[in-house]
């Protein structure tokens, strides 16, 4: 069964998926309705930001998690009304299930009430984080 068909099919599917993957990583997706659970300091481990709180979920087998953490930690230094929490997804499965986090890194953007407004999967660009924060402020 020497055929090129399986190779062509797999490569075509992989290219289509790869283009979608590259475009969608880091993109801030707004929730359609803001009705999720209210998170607070007891749950995420830090005080909520006055305007926005970014909650990043990471796991061990995730390279972009490190880059995302470095970026977000750096960005909150200049934004006093924005706080940042970093959570190990595997050690907090109950929370992961409640919030339906499926991949890492996933960064939740919470409003001042601690309710999720939207999230970004993958490493966002600096501009994407700023746009998301400004949209919530």
């Amino acid at each position: 069964m020497n055929s090129l068909t399986p190779l062509v099919v797999v490569l075509a599917l992989a290219i289509a998926f790869g283009v979608w993957y590259t475009r969608s990583r880091g993109e801030f997706r707004r929730k359609k309705t803001v009705n999720g659970p209210k998170l607070d300091a007891a749950i995420i481990g830090i005080e909520l930001g006055a305007a926005v709180t970014m909650v990043q979920f990471s796991s061990a087998f995730c390279s972009p998690c490190r880059a995302t953490k470095a970026l977000l930690e750096d960005m909150v230094k200049t934004m006093p009304d924005v706080h940042y929490a970093h959570i190990d997804a595997e050690a907090n499965l109950e929370l992961v299930r409640k919030l339906d986090v499926r991949s890492t890194p996933t960064t939740l953007f919470l409003n001042s009430d601690g309710v999720e407004v939207g999230r970004a999967m993958g490493t966002p660009k600096r501009s994407q984080v700023l746009a998301a924060v400004n949209a919530i402020r």
Binding site: T22, F57, S59, A60, F61, R66
Partner: protein
């Protein structure tokens, strides 16, 4: 519910770091090998790739023959700052590759060509995405797997 912010994972300074370009180069070679396997249906070639995956999964992705080629021939030509990454994500990807290679070889030995083709197809899909788009397999499937397995 108390949260563990002490991430055992990805961000502590104790993790072993490797040159991030190594696994990407290895993924490109793997893509080529798996493409040839898919067309020729060669049991020998998938067995060799299985051994490479096994070395990557158990000894680490920096210990494979492909990593050796990278260090010997590619790395000396690269300049600038070395981008590093945690060794665990590519090692996880090698383990997943190993599973697919085992299934493919089983398909070959049991004369189930469809099993062989599907398993090699999935491995090629992931290796190509890794090489061409820097796709992170562990990011996308590990948490889902843990959510399913752990109650």
């Amino acid at each position: 519910m108390t949260v563990q912010n002490e991430v055992s994972a990805s961000t502590t300074n104790k993790v072993k770091l490797i040159d991030a370009r190594g696994p990407r180069f290895s993924a490109a070679i793997t893509t080529l090998v798996l493409a040839i396997v898919l067309v020729t249906q060669s049991p020998l070639l998938i067995a060799l790739q299985l051994v490479v995956f096994a070395i990557g999964a158990f000894a680490g992705p920096a210990k494979t023959p492909y990593a050796f080629l990278f260090k010997k021939f590619v790395k000396p030509k690269l300049h600038g700052q070395v981008p590093t990454e945690d060794v665990r994500p590519p090692q996880f990807a090698q383990s997943v590759g190993l599973i697919f290679a085992v299934v493919a070889l089983a398909g070959s030995l049991l004369s189930i060509p469809a099993l062989f083709t599907v398993a090699v197809g999935f491995a090629l899909f992931a290796a190509f995405l890794n090489a061409a788009f820097n796709f992170c397999l562990g990011c996308e499937i590990y948490l889902i797997a843990v959510r399913i397995i752990k109650k």
